[in-house]
Symmetry: C2
Subunit: 311 residues, 2 copies
């Protein structure tokens, strides 16, 4: 029995999703889209799982920086090690606030610091470390391990699409390899279908002569955010999606790219308007929310459209 949208309240958004999927999958229908072209792309942070009070991956990165700063005093006289070691919340808060306003410099300093301390480890070692973090570190507010803080209705939507012959990809502004550690468990999305930002890599051989792919400290350009999202989608998939879902200004280009398809298309924008069950904020999503009506994007209200928030 195919997945249903049981966690979605009846209303225009649920109707639009079901209508769209019915249109593109009805055999012999005028809008039938062959399965190979049923591509859906989902942003991750804030769309498929929690992104507040900060990106989950950032918490993981801060721990890596703190560990390095504790072990190597020589790092502490420069950012981001100084701020993390001294628990300088003003510096850290400004980095996050600037990012929401469109200035990524502080976050970039943090990300490059993380890449620096993880330089040279194998991709397998990185993944094992991430998996341990996601299974064992709890979110301070919800008191649950991060891997349990996915949005139930969105995961249901992923499965509903998969059961209707869609190929569903994650397109995260965050780290591709970070999400690969649990994408198969929490979303049932294969790791080859995770698109995201990344460091670059080097080929090397370990002490036993076994070939390994090793992380470098360099951030691959472009990152998978804003105009980089359609570029990454082309690189990985080679087809324009007919459905895209996001929640922030970083998803604008992806949503427009999907809506530019010559076939029927659907764009969804998750709006965090549920202070009671999750958070209520427009910060970092102002432009997307403003564009939604004129671009024909469906705004998903967490408060009104979802029977529950978490999976």
């Amino acid at each position: 029995m195919p997945a249903q949208l049981g966690s979605w309240n009846d209303g225009p958004v649920k109707n639009a999703i079901i209508d769209f999927v019915t249109r593109v999958t009805t055999p012999n229908g005028p809008d039938l889209v062959p399965p190979a072209e049923r591509i859906a792309t989902f942003d991750n942070d804030g769309t498929l799982w929690l992104e507040k009070p900060m990106y989950i991956q950032l918490e993981h990165g801060l721990r890596a920086i703190a560990k390095a700063a504790a072990e190597k005093p020589g790092l502490r006289d420069r950012q981001p090690f100084k701020a993390v070691y001294e628990k300088d919340m003003a510096w850290l808060g400004k980095a996050a606030a600037d990012y929401a306003k469109g200035d990524p410099s502080g976050i970039f300093t943090l990300v490059t610091g993380v890449a620096e301390v993880l330089e040279g480890i194998t991709v397998e070692a990185f993944e094992a470390d991430v998996l341990d973090f996601l299974c064992n570190v709890q979110d301070a507010h919800f008191k649950k391990p991060y891997r349990l803080l996915t949005y139930g209705p969105m995961v249901e939507l992923v499965h509903y699409l998969q059961d209707n012959g869609f190929q569903v990809y994650i397109t995260s502004g965050g780290g591709r390899d970070f999400m690969r550690a649990i994408c198969e468990e929490v979303y049932e999305i294969p790791r080859s279908m995770v698109i995201g930002s990344s460091v670059t890599f080097k080929y090397g051989e370990d002490a036993q002569g076994v070939p390994q792919v090793l992380r470098s400290r360099e951030i691959e350009q472009p990152i998978d955010d804003g105009p980089g999202k359609p570029v990454h989608i082309h690189r990985t998939i080679g087809r324009r999606p007919i459905l895209a879902a996001g929640n922030s200004d970083g998803d604008i280009h992806m949503l427009k790219y999907a809506r530019g398809h010559r076939r029927p298309s659907l764009a969804l924008l998750v709006h965090h308007d549920d202070a009671e069950r999750e958070y209520c904020y427009d910060s970092g999503s102002e432009k997307a929310l403003q564009l939604a009506p004129q671009e024909g994007w469906m705004v998903v209200s967490m408060q009104q459209d979802w029977k529950k928030v978490f999976a």
Copy 2:
């Protein structure tokens, strides 16, 4: 009925392939590999289709360069436009010969020339142009359109693996988007499963305001060759292959990477030793052929192992 290896002669190579696939797919067997980990990666030029007298994509590129040089006289005073316009076979031959000897500078000049003249076109326009070329331009020796010059036994092997639950990827040193134009038709490999070298891209909007992914003139680093192959495999798949097939020195790192798997693994090296039905050459494959016995790679003799060459 699953695909069989009917175009392969009985012998140690065919036996090794069947034994390996049986081992990793036997339910409850000691070497069973779950389908998600049954990753196979195939080099393209010289492994899945013809690469002589020159890479098929190079012929496509030379036509693009010739067209630009014919239209824009200002280009003709520098390489690669000068050599192509003047049909300077000494320059072109040296570029190819240097590449086989490990010096890619001449080929790189050609590739960057192609990227320059195709700068700014959409990925869809590029694909349409490639498809036209592959369907309508004939190889001078075999008198057939290039798309018909795939190796029958290798395509059969791809399908045999797919029918046994393998996910089969192409990992071409050549252009990813070039192969995407026909991978689904000639190999039944989805375009999302083509890994290869590429230019970088820019996001833009066309005159109608439709978002497009546009080719740039910059070559993405690393190219998908040599030590770049395991890096590209990690980026796209996120898993180490258990089977890899190649034919040249550019495949050495990929074959070693597959053989470094903690699970059973198989590496195949196609040897072009069939002057009668195709070509006979070791040039560009000398190191790989020398390494094969000590690394445990199976050398596939076109002459002895294949009943026919082309599909």
